[in-house]
């Protein structure tokens, strides 16, 4: 009955470093269940991250893991996949890592449609460094660097991924644990770039400053404002104000990058 997570975690690594209530732990459990569902051989699975609280995730997992430079998860992961196309490659990291310093690597990995699954934990903030605003901090929200409210418009990560060329894009929240593993599983099985955006909570540096009295308030907010994309088509703009769409947002088939590159190698070798 109880799920066996222990076999996927490096011995002695728990308790993890994340704050009480931090959603990254919920996402990690979902990722473990998805890897089990897909029957992934951990020796043939690379899990790659950048820097940030979210990017600490791979260090807990018993697989081939790479904790790289800030914003460079997609770049390192591309290298792994190019060198070893037979490996399953999973990226994970935060909104800051993936869309601020790493935004360029993120969009170009999407454009190439390289076969990997990128789990991006969007907690609307730079958690690790004390709550500076990220490109995903809601307009008007308070961060340590926007004490009067954030004047910036927001990146919609899923839309960004679709626009950049990812061929599987889905969104859920830390308050929807079963959907986390369902969507990551679909992403892993998809041949091409799969982006799974998980709206997440950072009670320590975001929640506190933004009128969420507790992590439970944040979780309830994520739960109450998620609208399945299939239901949204029947709703008015007014009804959708302040909501976020969840589930599979986009899916298409397009040639995958390592397969295309294998053709280049063949040509270059005169085959």
């Amino acid at each position: 009955m109880a799920y066996d997570y222990d076999k996927s975690i490096r011995p002695g690594k728990l308790p993890h470093i994340w704050c009480p209530g931090c959603g990254h732990g919920i996402v990690m459990k979902g990722l473990i269940r998805a890897m089990d569902t897909c029957g992934l051989d951990r020796k043939n699975t690379a899990i790659v991250s950048g820097i940030g609280c979210a990017s600490r995730l791979p260090g807990y997992l018993d697989a081939c893991t790479l904790h790289t430079a800030h914003g460079r998860a997609a770049a390192f992961a591309t290298g792994v996949k190019m060198a070893k196309p037979e490996m399953t490659v999973i990226c994970c990291g935060g909104d800051g890592d993936g869309t601020a310093i790493g935004g360029n690597h993120f969009i170009h990995a999407c454009r190439r449609n390289i076969d990997m699954t990128y789990v991006i934990m969007n907690n609307f903030i730079y958690g690790m460094t004390g709550g500076q605003f990220s490109p995903c901090t809601p307009t008007g929200a308070k961060a340590s660097t926007t004490p009067y409210g954030n004047p910036d418009p927001v990146f919609d990560i899923s839309k960004l991924a679709i626009g950049a060329g990812a061929t599987f894009v889905a969104r859920t929240t830390a308050a929807h644990p079963r959907e986390i593993d369902k969507l990551i599983t679909m992403g892993i099985k998809h041949k091409g770039m799969a982006i799974i955006e998980v709206l997440d909570d950072c009670p320590t540096t975001y929640g506190r400053r933004n009128k969420f009295r507790s992590v439970v308030d944040m979780m309830k907010h994520l739960k109450a404002n998620a609208v399945p994309a299939v239901a949204a088509s029947k709703m008015t703009a007014e009804q959708l104000a302040g909501k976020f769409l969840t589930g599979v947002l986009f899916q298409e088939e397009r040639p995958e990058y390592t397969a295309q590159y294998a053709e280049v190698i063949k040509k270059a070798q005169g085959a």
Binding site: M1, A2, L14, P20, G21, P177, V216
Partner: protein, 63 residues
């Protein structure tokens, strides 16, 4: 339905109270900084507490 046995790994629990608040049957309670299984007989084994615990600190077993 057979009853449940709830296991709290106290060394991992950080007292966030997510499991307490999302349990549909009010089985769990906060005991200062740790979660306490107050009414195990009411558990319907929906798994919400285990799925939502960020800290791998609560497990739902068949009794």
């Amino acid at each position: 339905m057979s009853s449940a046995r709830l296991e709290v790994i106290e060394r991992y629990c950080k007292g966030c109270s997510i499991c307490v608040e999302f349990c549909p049957k009010n089985v769990l309670e906060m005991d200062v900084f740790l979660v306490k299984v107050a009414r195990p007989e009411d558990c319907i084994k929906c798994m919400q507490c285990e799925l939502l615990c960020p800290d791998f600190a609560i497990k739902v077993h068949d009794a």
